[in-house]
């Protein structure tokens, strides 16, 4: 249902209907922002990535191949942009205050906020290729098949990376005392 309506919206976008783009933005703004946030930790970087993702998507809508699911395409852009930011960080000094700001979320509960904070910290200890599959699986609720399409990987590799990534994440969470 969603995929079909995505396709219709994309078609309308291509025909110049700005409302259709706004509808796609409304649908995917939050998952794209969250994917970037979990990849990068820093909410301001995540915001910039989300903005870049939608502007690139808009600019390259003509290149979008409708045989793929729209969300696969836009999440792929989001992860690639996030990885670009991560690569850029390697050349920079760490930024002060580079932490997830959960205040805007539904995390009024202090315990949940602490869990979020520690999970995010643990995520940052694992390599981006493992982090990406975990983000897609756990925070965007993607299937193995979806993840394979988004990352352009065979399903076998997706499962393998997910397993390894989870082991590394579990170790990190055990170290931080959350598991």
């Amino acid at each position: 249902m969603n995929e079909d309506s995505d396709g219709i919206l994309v078609q309308r976008c291509r025909e110049g209907d700005s409302r259709a783009f706004a509808a796609l933005l409304g649908r995917y703004e939050k998952p794209v922002f969250n994917a970037a946030l979990r990849m990068l930790r820093n909410p301001e970087d995540a915001r910039d990535v989300a903005q870049t993702v939608f502007l690139k998507a808009y600019e390259h809508l003509a290149d979008y191949d409708p045989k793929y699911r729209f969300y696969s395409w836009i999440y792929r852009i989001a992860l690639n942009e996030s990885i670009n930011v991560l690569n850029g960080r390697k050349r920079l000094v760490p930024i002060a205050g580079d932490e997830v700001d959960e205040r805007r979320g539904a995390d009024d509960d202090v315990e949940s906020e602490q869990v979020s904070h520690r999970v995010q910290a643990a995520l940052m200890t694992i390599k981006p290729e493992y982090r990406a599959v975990i983000v897609l699986k756990h925070f965007l609720d993607m299937s193995y098949e979806d993840i394979g399409e988004i990352l352009e990987l065979p399903e076998k590799t997706v499962k393998s990376r997910l397993f390894t990534g989870r082991q590394l994440l579990k170790d990190a969470l055990q170290t931080s005392g959350i598991l």
């Binding site: 700005s18 409302r19 783009f21 706004a22 509808a23 933005l25 409304g26 649908r27 703004e29 939050k30 998952p31 922002f33 969250n34 946030l37 909410p43 301001e44 970087d45 915001r47 910039d48 989300a50 903005q51 939608f54 502007l55 808009y58 930024i95 002060a96 205050g97 997830v100 700001d101 959960e102 205040r103 805007r104 979320g105 539904a106 995390d107 949940s112 869990v115 979020s116 999970v119 995010q120 975990i134 699986k137 756990h138 925070f139 299937s143 193995y144 499962k159 997910l162 397993f163 989870r166 994440l169 579990k170 969470l173 959350i178 598991l179």
Partner: protein, 240 residues
Amino acid sequence: MINEKYLELIQAEVDGELPDQDRAELSRFMLANPDAHAVRDELKCLCSTLEQVRPAEPPPELRASILAAVRVPAPAVGSRSPRSFQSQSGALRYAAAFAGGLIVSAIAFQVASDRGSALDVSDVAGTMVSQDPVSRSRPVDSVHVSLDQVSGTVSLFRSSSMRVVDFDLAAREPVEVVVVHDGQEARFSGFAQSGGAAAQRYALVLDGPGLEGAPIEIRFLTAGAVIHNESLKVPPSNRQ
């Protein structure tokens, strides 16, 4: 040591992606290998922990900034453009590009007139389908106005390079608002009428580097005369 094949099946089961044809085989394996239960339990525990991480809300101005960039391409820094604009008819009330590089672009939108609610810039131009009110977003500065002619709140939201000024005002008579920032000026009017039919609510987007420091001056005018002044300040960011 558990065979890789069965680790994969255990993982698939936890993820709800175990093919039916593998289910019986995994059951037999689990019965014969009690150690495998610990692996499955650990994986379930990890998944349960990750489920506690709730999605974060995107910054309130993100949607507006994207729509603004799509509809009104940002001009090159340093391009010349008018320094003052009157509001126009139509959904896009104001679009301006300022010279000098401090403000790359500034755009004010007509948004839904829903006085008293938090800023939801997804209302910009009334085009959004799925809207997430940003009631939890916190302004970095705000002022309350309570005059005979106009009352309400003006709030400043921010992200890394962008500021959104939300004008949640109701007027009892025609009131014009002039926003001045770093020598640049924007004007608009037509706010919601107190006790009357809905009119406009505005969000002014300031985009570009160097927004910190200079205050955002707000002047309220009736019949061309200034009746009130306010100022919003952009606190320094934590980032370098």
